[in-house]
């Protein structure tokens, strides 16, 4: 099968994910694999660009939370078929990122959106959940091999736990081996600078761009 004959399938899959059509995404994934498309190129040419586009539309105010959720659902439907075929391929991910809402804070919608777009962007994401104590973030580096941490907070009260988490990374001697990005409604670039984070993003799509830049991946 030639590149010309599979490219409509790739384009259709990309569009199905953007449109949040999970059944179509799964069917097109099966068709593309049956047609001999290499799983890696299916990820690189359909899934990652689809979620990047969903993120771009979100950032532009054309997509809202529900559109991102259905796109992520369609992504998962495709990934369920593709990911097993990628196993063992060391270069399969753009990097491992552990993400969580800091200690005391239970809000997870924003964190989950960032998680969905990072996964869509090809990162291997460890979801630490909400109400995550500093020592769990440390363990994500030492035990889970995270190259980057994503810290979320919705409240001015719990935002201060980001500073406590940075201090815990210093004390554990792991600060130098990890990049840290922060976000959430009350968080600002200035606050990120004050606590010594490597980066701040004011929305989920910008977090993916930031993660790629800090981990030296192509935008």
């Amino acid at each position: 099968m030639t590149a010309e004959s599979v490219s409509p399938l790739i384009a259709a899959l990309r569009q199905a994910v953007i449109d949040g059509q999970a059944k179509d995404a799964a069917a097109l994934t099966e068709q593309a694999l049956a047609a001999g498309v290499v799983p890696r190129s299916l990820v690189d040419e359909a899934l990652i660009p689809a979620m990047d586009e969903a993120g771009r539309l979100f950032e532009a105010g054309e997509f809202f939370v529900p559109e991102l959720l259905v796109a992520a659902r369609a992504l998962k439907a495709s990934q369920a078929l593709v990911t097993p075929l990628l196993a063992g391929s060391a270069a399969a991910t753009a990097g491992r990122i552990a993400i969580g809402t800091v200690k005391g804070d239970m809000h997870d919608i924003g964190k989950n959106l960032v998680l969905a777009l990072l996964q869509g962007g090809g990162f291997d994401v460890v979801d630490l959940g909400a109400d995550v104590p500093p020592e769990r973030f440390v363990a994500a580096i030492t035990d889970d091999g995270a190259q980057m941490l994503g810290l979320s907070a919705l409240l001015t009260t719990t935002m201060l736990q980001m500073k406590a988490t940075m201090e815990a990374l210093d004390r554990a001697g792991v600060r130098g081996s990890v990049k840290v990005i922060v976000g959430g409604a009350p968080v600002t670039q200035r606050f990120a600078d004050e606590i010594g984070a490597d980066g701040y993003a004011d929305n989920a799509a910008a977090a993916v761009v930031l993660a790629r830049r800090l981990l030296g991946r192509p935008a």
């Binding site: 005391g104 239970m106 909400a130 001015t156 009260t157 409604a185």
Partner: protein
């Protein structure tokens, strides 16, 4: 002017003697303890002379067992009358004592009949509003305005039960489950609104958070399809009983995109007008002849991180840019978190009362 006269005058967009104020939706546990310690007063609203007092339905006689709707729950979890499980934070930091997470009892349900049979509370029962009537009379005898709380009116109550991501997916899929759940909640909220209006509330406080600080959580189209008609029904229910009751609507975040819709369905007052993402002065220019503004003093910016002078300046700016001809009720935009200095609360109240120095 009594507080009640001040609130009604200002919210009907006539000039009061000064803007009315309150201290918003309450206080974090640590902040309330600190205020009590500093003032010696049990109720900060009494100490500072806030113009409103809030009322809620009386206690239920039901004791529904929701355990079948939940898996194992962490120690310290409480289940409210809707069946929502409130899980305390694992943090032992005193400043976090007010923080909790949710476990949603309807997250695993699938069929429309399950949505139809889920045991909702009897917040529509008349007996629960007998104490409300007495409370409102007592509030009025003190010259204060009574604000009846109908917060988390439909959308938030529905996602508390279903889970937000699940409910938003239901909306996208056009699910009959969501329609059934929202209609059942709406019917109860309509009855509750009628009871409040009959009990003599000055203000009924509706609210569903549909804003993020970057704009709506969902598209305006989705909001109009799923939530606007139901909000309209709950407002009409109160207005059929008491045409003059003031309708207050709360949503955190930036809800600029639906302000004309809110006015259309009968909202008189927008809250909290978060200055971090909405410009109160611009909204006054655009909608000040049809809408009043309640809140506007940032609990994410000035109150926790500004100086007392910054707080006084923000209050004065609001009075100058939003207060002309009435239409302004000054309040923190959300609960007072522990990091708001006591001096800033004092500066807020004194500035509202005209003492800027």
């Amino acid at each position: 002017m009594t507080s009640r006269e001040r609130v009604v005058t200002a919210m009907r967009r006539r000039q009061p003697d000064r803007p009315p104020f309150d201290l918003s939706f309450g206080y974090s546990t640590a902040q309330l303890a600190s205020i009590r310690d500093r003032t010696g007063a049990d109720d900060p609203c009494d100490y500072f002379g806030a113009d409103t007092r809030m009322v809620w339905p009386g206690p239920t006689r039901l004791s529904t067992d929701f355990s079948a709707y939940h898996g194992p729950l962490p120690p310290g979890t409480t289940i409210d009358e809707w069946g929502l499980a409130h899980v305390p934070t694992a943090s032992t930091d005193a400043d976090h004592a007010h923080l909790e997470g949710f476990r949603h009892p309807m997250s695993r349900l699938e069929s429309v009949s399950e949505a139809a049979e889920y045991p909702l509370p009897d917040i529509d029962a008349a007996y629960r509003y007998e104490p409300v009537r007495a409370e409102i009379e007592a509030i009025h005898r003190r010259g204060l305005a009574a604000m009846a709380m109908l917060e988390c009116t439909v959308f938030e109550r529905a996602w508390y039960l279903r889970g937000m991501e699940r409910l938003l997916l239901d909306f996208t899929d056009g699910s009959a489950f969501a329609t059934t759940l929202l209609d059942r909640i709406t019917e109860r909220r309509m009855a509750q609104a009628e009871h409040y209006a009959r009990a003599g509330a000055d203000v009924i406080a509706y609210g569903d958070d549909v804003g993020t600080q970057r704009g709506l959580l969902m598209s305006a189209g989705m909001w109009r399809a799923w939530l606007k008609p139901r909000l309209a029904r709950t407002i009409e229910a109160a207005r059929r009983v008491e045409p003059d009751v003031l309708v207050f609507y709360h949503s955190d975040g930036d809800v600029s995109a639906i302000i004309p819709d809110l006015i259309e369905v009968g909202v008189d007052i927008l809250n909290p007008v978060q200055p971090e993402c909405m410009d109160p002065a611009a909204l006054k220019c655009a909608y000040g002849d049809r809408l009043s503004f309640w809140g506007t003093i940032g609990t994410q910016s000035t109150l926790p991180f500004g100086s007392p002078d910054d707080v006084r300046r923000e209050v004065r700016t609001r009075i100058e840019t939003v207060g002309a001809g009435g239409g302004l009720f000054l309040a923190p935009t959300h609960i007072l978190e522990p990091e708001v200095p006591f001096e800033n609360i004092v500066a807020f109240v004194e500035a509202v009362k005209g003492r800027y120095a």
